[in-house]
């Protein structure tokens, strides 16, 4: 396989994980604009584990995911006290604080970036990505998946039916954070170099946008969104700016014509 194709596929695999990282809190009714913060946390802690404790890169990736998940779980308590627009703003502020903190941490290189020599190859990244897809599909077949959807559809009704709304919301937020951390850790170990400057709010916005492009009603949506977002620019091949111009126009068009995203619940899949 050529190096170019491989790096495109790796990005696709990582973007799929990222898409589900944004999707999980979104189905629970939270617009998380801080996904990039957890990506950064996962990337940096995994890099630190494999650099300083010479952990095997795969275990380091899992450790990074665990750290991101734990931090996600901890911040979920204050963050989920806010709702709606306030929640989006709080996650956005969290993103800025995390990025700012990492930029000031000299242990991990601060503003000059952080090299991670240990390598994870394409097959492992792809395996992780597939595992995440399968896991998310399975989760949405269980009672948990149905409950989370119920919470986002109508919080009050879900509460009346005896669901633990707060518990489900924080579970979705935490799971999203752990997935984001995993994606970051895999990126760090495949491309061997990370820079905190890349994990700003705009990165979070891009992730959220391509999930919404695919649609959040079914688990297929994020998959499609990630695929389009990764492959379309490669097919268009022009300058990076033109790709994003087209991407933005696509989003605007789709949101005007089909605001629920491209893939709907009873569209071509179940008809």
């Amino acid at each position: 396989m050529s190096g170019y194709l491989e790096s495109v596929l790796v990005l696709l695999a990582i973007n799929v994980i990222l898409a589900y990282a944004a999707f999980l809190p979104m189905v629970a009714g939270q617009l998380n604009l801080g996904v990039a913060a957890f990506v950064a946390i996962g990337a940096y802690s995994a890099g630190y584990c494999s650099n300083s404790f010479s952990l095997h890169p795969v275990s380091a990736a899992l450790a990074g995911s665990a750290v991101a998940g734990t931090i996600g779980w901890l911040v979920a308590f204050p963050i989920l006290r806010t709702r709606g627009i306030y929640l989006a703003l709080a996650t956005f502020a969290l993103n800025q604080v995390v990025q700012g903190t990492i930029l000031n941490l000299d242990v991990v290189g601060g503003a000059s970036g952080y090299p991670v020599p240990a390598h994870i190859g394409f097959p492992v990244v792809a395996a992780f990505s597939l595992a995440v897809i399968v896991l998310v599909f399975l989760v949405f077949r269980t009672r948990f998946g149905i409950s989370v959807t119920a919470v986002s559809d109508d919080e009050r009704a879900a509460d009346l039916m005896g669901l633990s709304v707060r518990g489900l919301q924080s579970a979705a937020f935490t799971a999203g954070a752990a997935l984001a951390g995993l994606a970051g850790a895999l990126y760090a170990h495949h491309f061997n170099y990370i820079e905190a400057q890349n994990y700003g709010v705009l990165f979070s916005i891009y992730i959220v946008l391509y999930v919404l492009l695919g649609g959040t009603q079914t688990v297929f949506g994020p998959l499609l969104g990630a695929a389009v977002f990764t492959l379309l620019p490669e097919l268009l091949r022009g300058s990076a700016a033109w790709r994003y111009v087209i991407f933005a126009c696509l989003i605007i068009a789709i949101m005007s014509l089909r605001p629920q995203g491209v893939i709907l619940k009873r569209s071509w899949f179940s008809r």
């Binding site: 709606g84 627009i85 502020a93 604080v97 503003a111 994003y244 933005a248 126009c249």
Partner: protein, 290 residues
């Protein structure tokens, strides 16, 4: 030294304040976090640079730059608020983010990604008050900000359009039922928001003599913080919040170095969201949609 920092902070804060007013208008009246605002700010700033470099007299450049904000904002309105009534609550937010990406990358395509130096159209004049230096253009900027907000305040409180807007803020459906022409009044919010943002972009470009396709992100994120600090939906709160954030920022740079600024400013934002989400001047939170 302290006074100088305070003055610098207030000047920077006046830029944030204008952007915060644009955000707070959209939130207060339409309950809509308008992410296209950083894009409008940047377009106005870049247009200022382009026109001044081309030798256009500065009053005309200012007029065109500010007008561009209003016009683009009306375009954004067509694709966001117009569609809000018949779609999911997050759609306008998402579309406005897409507009931010669109504006940024269009400017990148046209003018490249370099930081541009804005030529100063007039001699810098500054006053000295003891050891404190006050640049007159910045002072004029601050005055413009206060003037514009006073005008907005009067518009909201005294005019027919303002009454309509406040009714929509309470409840859009009831407003429509009571005969407010929602479709005609709402663009006013976007127009005003766009003009304020663009004015701020122009002032920033002139005062700091720089413009780049990414200039909007930083400023607008601070503008959002300013809005929350002051209390969402409150225009005087936005001014207060903007000035406060500007001062916090300059003092954070002096006290902890430039890299600590984000932690201080956004840490303040987080703390306020957790502890007092209504902000300093905010009233009771209405049930928020997004």
């Amino acid at each position: 030294m302290l006074e100088q920092q305070l003055v610098n902070g207030l000047m920077l804060g006046s830029v944030y304040a204008l952007v915060a007013v644009a955000f707070t208008l959209a939130i207060g009246v339409l309950n809509f976090l308008n992410f296209s605002i950083p894009g409008l700010f940047m377009v106005a700033g870049m247009l200022t640079w382009f026109l001044l470099r081309a030798g256009v007299p500065w009053p005309i450049a200012a007029l065109l730059a500010v007008a561009s904000g209003g016009l683009l904002s009306l375009v954004v309105e067509r694709f966001t608020y117009r569609l809000m009534s018949r779609s999911a609550h997050f759609v306008p937010l998402v579309t406005s983010m897409a507009f931010l990406i669109l504006f940024e990358n269009l400017v990148l395509v046209i003018w490249g990604s370099d930081m541009q130096r804005v030529p100063l159209p007039f001699e810098t004049v500054s006053w000295r008050l003891g050891s404190t230096v006050i640049a007159v253009p910045q002072l004029v900027g601050l005055a413009c900000a206060v003037l514009a907000v006073t005008f907005l305040d009067v518009l909201l409180k005294r005019t027919r359009i303002g009454r309509g807007l406040r009714t929509i803020a309470e409840d859009p459906e009831t407003a429509a039922m009571l005969g407010v022409a929602v479709g005609r009044v709402v663009p006013v919010v976007f127009l005003a928001g766009g003009l304020f943002t663009a004015l701020s972009g122009f002032l920033f470009a002139i005062n700091y003599q720089q413009a780049s396709p990414f200039m909007g992100e930083e400023i607008a994120l601070k503008g959002i913080s300013a809005m929350v600090v002051g209390g969402m939906g409150n225009i005087w709160g936005a001014i207060l919040g903007g000035l406060l954030i500007g001062v916090v920022e300059t003092f954070a740079i002096q006290g902890f170095g430039a890299r600590a600024v984000d932690i201080c400013v956004y840490g303040l934002l987080l703390a306020i969201l957790f502890v007092r989400p209504t902000g300093l001047l905010g009233g009771v939170i209405r049930q928020q949609r997004m």
